[in-house]
Each structure stands twice: as C-alpha cells, then as structure tokens.
C-alpha cells in the first residue's frame, strides 16, 4: 500500500490525490496480470468498470474530523458491497451497477419545511465546499473499512432549508427503480430503502452529505450519486442513492427495523456492549488478519453527549 501508518494528523501524511489516480494507470499496465493473480479479483482486468462513471473532484479541503488510520484499498470498497437494491451477494453490485444512471438526479426536500423543493443534485452538492472526510465505517455484520469520503456536513443543508420547529427527525428515502436495480424486483426488503436520524444526530458535524470517495465522485456500487455517512452508527444507517430528505415529527420507520425489529433498531449506534444481531465485541478491519475490538460509537466519542442519560441497551 502507498499509505504509511502515522500518529499525527498531518496533511502531508494523507496520500495525495495524484497517487490514487495513478493507481489506475498502474493497474492498466503491464504488471496487471501479476497484480490480478496476487489479488485474484477479475474486475481488476477491466478498470474501466470503475473508471467509467467517476470523475475527479477538484478543490478538496482537508478536515480535522478525518482519521489518520490506514485507508482501505479502493478495490475492496468497490467490490464488497451490501447494496441489496442490486444484489444480496456482496461481489455483484460492482457489475450490476455499472450502467446505473446518476444523472439527471433530483433530491426532494419535503415535510415540515417552509418550502418543499426538488433540488437538482448538481446544485445540492455545491451548498458547501467539498471536504475530504476519512471516516471509519463499521458494518453490523462485523467488518469495517476506512474510506476517504467527500462531502459536507448535513447541517449545512439543514441550515439552508430551515426546517420548522415541528421537525424532530430527518428521514432519508432512497431510489426505487427495479428496472435498473434487479434486487428490487423481489421484496427481500420493503422498498424503497428508508433511513432516519434524530435532528441533533443529523445536525452533528460528523454526519456527512456524501457525493464522492477517493478523490472522485462516488462509485455506483457505493451509493452514487448521493448518500449519507453516519460514522458512529452501523453501516446500514448510511443510506445510499438518496432521492428524498424529509423533515418529520415522528421517528421514521427504517427499512432494517421493519425487516427485523429485534436485531436492528432505530439508533443502531456501534456498541460492543449491545448485541442484538451477532456478537459486536470485535470486528474485522478488511485487509487485516487479526480481529480488533469494537469501539463504542465506532471510536467517535464526540457524539456521546447526544446520548447522555439514554439507556443504549433499550434504545438500540
């Protein structure tokens, strides 16, 4: 890997965008066969599968909210995806999402807002300067990754649309398009995918409106063109392919909670001490051999004040 482990958050420590982009040239080069054999992933032989839909994002700012941990290789993050809209097999969304149309794309803002509107995504992503946020993402299944996401705090969007006092929660609705998304042709989950946050969770600076990764726009299989990243909660809370953001009064009915209310709660904060779905005390950082202990709130202690006084075992 080109990224070294370091202790301080120095901007010089973070891999420049160039090196990431040059990896594509490296892969397409003569050593491709050896690399493919070593890594053993067929998709490497057609880097265009990933390159086709993504564009460089200029003017990225660094963020103090980023971690300095080793970043997961992009090929892992683009070839191991829980995106049931496409497939329940993790290696399949990469191929199935190849021709997914991310333009034109509108995001409806509705609910308790002074003005209901349909925003074109290209104006939405300009609401604030793009930042690189290197976040940990922890799946409820017990694996985790570190990804350099690109976006801005959801609070920037919320401040712009000025929700009314009645709005206590933010609800995200994802795209429903069985024509493009074969997984939606059967009801493995109740489509469309719905997620939600309490208003204070949504306003927290960590919560990210995300439209890019690794210096480029999002890969289709990772939720292009727009997703949300909530790094202190299990990965399924970080909804992909968002088409509607609603400001609502009551706690939204979220898709995984509907599918399995015992295992998947509304809050779903990463918590080694609360075990509803499988044991959560340890996790496997993809690329690492040994399991590592799971941290409360995925290590993002700055959110603990949101839950002071709350019984996290009851509000799982």
């Amino acid at each position: 890997m080109l990224i070294k482990k370091s202790d301080g958050i120095l901007s010089s420590e973070i891999t420049p965008k160039d090196l990431y982009l040059n990896r594509r040239k490296f892969l397409a080069g003569a050593s491709m066969t050896a690399v493919a054999a070593g890594i053993g992933i067929k998709e490497l032989l057609s880097p265009s599968a990933r390159a086709a839909a993504t564009e460089k994002i200029e003017g990225l700012q660094k963020s103090p909210l980023s971690t300095n941990e080793r970043i997961t290789p992009i090929n892992t993050v683009t070839h191991y995806n829980n995106y049931y809209e496409f497939s329940t097999e993790k290696e399949e969304p990469a191929g199935l999402a190849k021709d997914f149309r991310t333009r034109p794309w509108t995001v409806t803002i509705d609910g308790h807002v002074p003005k209901k509107q349909k925003l074109d995504i290209d104006s939405l992503i300009k609401f604030a300067p793009p930042e690189e946020r290197i976040y940990r993402l922890r799946c409820v299944e017990g694996w985790s990754i570190v990804v350099p996401w690109i976006g801005f705090s959801l609070s920037e969007l919320i401040k712009r649309v000025q929700p009314l006092g009645k709005a206590k929660y933010v609800q995200f609705t994802s795209i429903y398009d069985p024509g493009q998304m074969p997984g939606q042709r059967r009801q493995v989950l109740d489509w469309p995918y719905v997620e939600g946050l309490r208003m204070d969770e949504a306003m927290h600076p960590l919560t990210l409106v995300c439209f890019g990764m690794y210096g480029e726009t999002l890969a289709n299989q990772d939720g292009a063109p727009l997703r949300i990243i909530v790094p202190w909660k299990y990965g399924f809370k970080s909804a992909k392919g968002i088409v509607k953001i609603s400001f609502v009064e009551h706690e939204p009915m979220t898709t995984w909670n509907i599918a399995n209310p015992h295992d998947f709660g509304f809050y779903s904060n990463v918590n080694p001490n609360v075990e509803r779905y499988h044991s959560q005390a340890y996790e496997r950082r993809l690329g690492e051999f040994r399991p590592r202990p799971t941290l409360l709130f995925n290590g993002y202690d700055q959110v603990s004040s949101l839950y002071s006084g709350m019984d996290l075992a009851k509000n799982y």
Binding site: A37, I39, G40, I41, H79, W143, D263, S279, L286
Partner: protein, 218 residues
C-alpha cells in the same frame, strides 16, 4: 467398476477444498501479505460460507443415496454413502475450524458467549456435534460392535444434523432466505421420501412392497 469410480469420486469430493486452498494461498504461497486475497475482500467470511455450503451439500448428497438406489434400483450406490457422509464431516471440521481459529481467533470467552447467546451458533454447534459420533462409528468394525439395529438407530442422527444445519443457515442470513430455503426444500423432499417408505407398510398393510432392496432404510 466401483473400484475405479471410488478414487475418482474421492478426488472430486476434494476439489472444493482444493479450490478454497488455492484461492487462499493464491499464486504466491510464500508471500503472507497476499494470503486470502483470492477469496475477495473478506477472506474469513468467504471461507466460512464456502465450507458451510459444502457441509450442507454433502449432507444432502449422503441423504440422497438411499432414495436414489431404491428408485433407480442401483444397490451398489450404498458403497459411496459413507464416503459422502465423511466428506460432510470433513467440511464441517473445516467450517468449525475456520470459525474457531480465523473468525474468533481462538478467543474462548467469545466462542462460549456465541454458543450460548447467539441461537444460530447454538444450532450450528449442535449440528456439528451430532456428526461426531457418526464419523467415529462410520467403520465396518463399529457396525459389528454396535449391531446393525443400534448402528442404524444412531446414524439416524444425520436427519437432526441436517435439519439443524439448514436452520443454522436460515437464522444467520440477514434478510435473503432464498438459499437456506432451497437447501431446506431439498432436505424436506429427501426426508419425506423416507417418511413415505416408513409409513407405507403401516398405512397399506395389504400391499406387499415389491422390488424393495434388501437392507431396511435408515
């Protein structure tokens, strides 16, 4: 004919293991940093799922021998049944070892907590434990020691193990129950056949079942 087929079938049964080994060690077996890479982003999960699939498949193949030999009237198929059963146990051991060693990294406290608290692990553990006495007593020597009737009774535990294995799979998936249901459906057919054969003389005592093969079914 069997003498020629048996080693070939034996080698065929080892192919899934060979493929997993190859994918794990890749083309650079001496370079530890590439180990597991051929299995994708999460090699431990791929090994667990890969070996788990083959436990169920070999259990179903084993359970299919008796119906097939009766319906197709090929009694010599019985000669393969023990081999398939032992391969189910072999893949079960690999599956269990992957879970204990690679997934849980031999963390005994975590493993015990899993077996007690996570019902899909409890039932999976039970499915494995049920196979142990069957593997142990799989030889002709043990059939003699126990006597045919007791040996057959003991080996009916495979029904419980296969059912527990399907439930283990069903309880472990998050939402997509298609594959566990397919295994379950095949298992249901194989068990229904045995139930039918067992019930038929009781329900239709006048009918003398002709063409039934010598040994009673287990």
């Amino acid at each position: 004919m069997i003498r020629v087929l048996k080693p070939i079938v034996f080698l065929a049964c080892l192919v899934p293991f060979g493929v997993l080994l190859y994918q794990f060690f890749g083309l650079h077996p001496t370079d530890m940093t590439t180990w597991g890479a051929g299995l994708g982003a999460n090699p431990v999960e791929a090994l667990e799922h890969g070996t788990g699939d083959w436990v169920l498949r070999f259990l179903l193949i084993t359970l299919a021998i008796t119906p097939l030999r009766q319906l197709l009237r090929i009694p010599s198929l019985i000669r393969f049944r023990r081999m398939f059963g032992l391969f189910a146990f072999f893949y079960a051991c690999l599956h269990f070892a992957t879970y204990l060693g690679l997934d849980k990294f031999l963390n005994v406290h975590e493993i015990l907590a899993d077996v007690v608290k996570r019902k899909y692990i409890t039932v999976g553990f039970a499915a494995f434990v049920l196979l142990v006495p069957l593997a142990f007593t799989s030889t002709a020597g043990w059939i003699r020691r126990l006597g045919g009737k007791r040996w057959r009774a003991l080996h009916r535990l495979i029904y419980a193990s296969a059912i527990a294995g399907v439930i283990h799979y069903l309880w472990l998936v998050k939402a997509d129950i298609r594959k566990p249901l397919i295994y379950g459906a095949i298992l249901a057919v194989l068990l229904a056949y045995r139930l039918f054969v067992w019930l038929r003389p009781k329900l239709l005592p006048d009918r003398v079942s002709s063409g039934r093969l010598t040994a009673p079914t287990t």
